[in-house]
């Protein structure tokens, strides 16, 4: 399956899963489980950054349309799309590993630890920016801090469960030719 078709299907599935499954769960007022932005994390290494940001904006905007509050998720998604390439450059262990594999995963990032840091930083940034914008209207600092920390923990847990359930087969592509 081509990368484009795969990503379009992923886009739709992530939005539906987020809106029809996770948004229906109310665990606690301080915990909002988010997993849809894993779509942005899974986008290929090679994608130009401008494209990455436009796609992220589209993803966030789609979820916003379902929730009838435009802007919030779009802002958070654009932020992590902008930060993602920096993190990849910092965390990839050896030179050129990002050309050997197509997408970020435990294998292509060189072990569980770099991948965990990668996921954790992006989760934290997404949730922090999102809840900051929400708290800006509410105006409560504790609400913001506690909600960010708890939701990030749940997001990381959900992402790792997703990784375990959906085993993405990554082809090793040599760059020697």
């Amino acid at each position: 399956m081509s990368s484009l078709v795969k990503n379009i299907i992923r886009f739709i599935l992530f939005i539906f899963f987020q809106h029809f499954v996770l948004d229906k769960i109310s665990l606690h007022q301080m915990i909002t489980p988010y997993v849809y932005f894993l779509f942005i994390i899974w986008l290929p290494f090679k994608m130009p950054r401008t494209w990455l940001m436009f796609i992220a904006f589209l993803l966030g905007f789609t979820l916003d349309s379902f929730r009838h509050q435009p802007g919030f998720h779009a802002a958070a998604c654009v932020l992590i799309a902008y930060i993602k390439p920096f993190l990849v450059n910092m965390l990839i262990p050896q030179e050129g590993a990002d050309t050997n594999y197509q997408e970020p995963s435990i294998k292509s990032m060189g072990g569980p630890l770099p991948y965990f840091i990668f996921i954790a930083v992006l989760c934290l940034l997404h949730n922090a920016w999102l809840f900051f914008l929400e708290a800006w209207q509410f105006g409560n600092i504790w609400y913001f801090l506690i909600k960010t920390i708890l939701s990030t923990a749940i997001s990381i847990l959900l992402i790792f469960i997703t990784e375990l359930v959906f085993n993405r087969k990554q082809k090793f592509r040599t760059n020697t030719i």
Binding site: G60, S65, R67, P70, V78, F138
Partner: protein, 285 residues
Amino acid sequence: MRNIFLFIRRYFNFLTFLVLQVLSLYLIVHYNRYHEAMFDNTANNITGKVNEQYNKVEYYFQLKRTNDSLIKANEVLYNKLKSNFDLPDSATRTQVDTIKIDSLTQYRKITYLHTKVVSNSVSTPSNYIVLSGDNVKKLKAGMGVADANNAVVGIITEVNGNYAVVMSLLHKDSHISGKLLKGGEVGTLSWDGKQPNILTLNNIPKSAKVAKGDTIITSGLSTTFPKGMMLGRVEEVLAETATNNFKIKFHTAANFYNLEFAYAIMNDQQEPVNKILDKLKKQQQ
């Protein structure tokens, strides 16, 4: 000039990032203006359609609960039937007024219109409900919405095409007036965004007698809801230290977790009353 192009080319990514962020923030801040212009036609209709398809599946799992609530609503209506009551005194003769001005349709003020709930949420700080159905074309922004058991659910904010968007009571900007059934004191409702189904009634003076379990009804002071619709039951009474008011936490009568059907409340007096109010507002400015 060349330097400007070089600058743009060099920081193109960062500039794109800034532009998209500013666009998002603009959408958040100018939500209402944007809402009317663009959201109406495209985005709302698409999400409405998707929600409707999903709801068709979900509806089957709720059938039992929906049935139960309809049985209850029927019971209330049957109990109001005239044939259930005996005349107090059979000796008195009923006089029939021969002047035929008084007809039921002429004095009807409130009409209930049934709609289907297509999308609903309780988990965010600002929740919206989406309605669909044949009656949606008759709806207008500003009408009240009640659930199957005639308990208040929210107010319609927007109608377009086949879908109506309702601001749920569980919304941080939702402030309707409520009244204590016993004493008659009127206050304002608000939601703190914490627990769904628990709302707060503010501005009730400490002289009021309130106990746990007391009923809170709509005040009827606006044209949105008729007087006496059920809002909820008092859960906890907190005294505010700074003011002379109570802060009353109450449990909503409507169950926001499993809304399937809703009635929109059409008040025929809404338009003339609002016209007068608008006129007054204009004069004061």
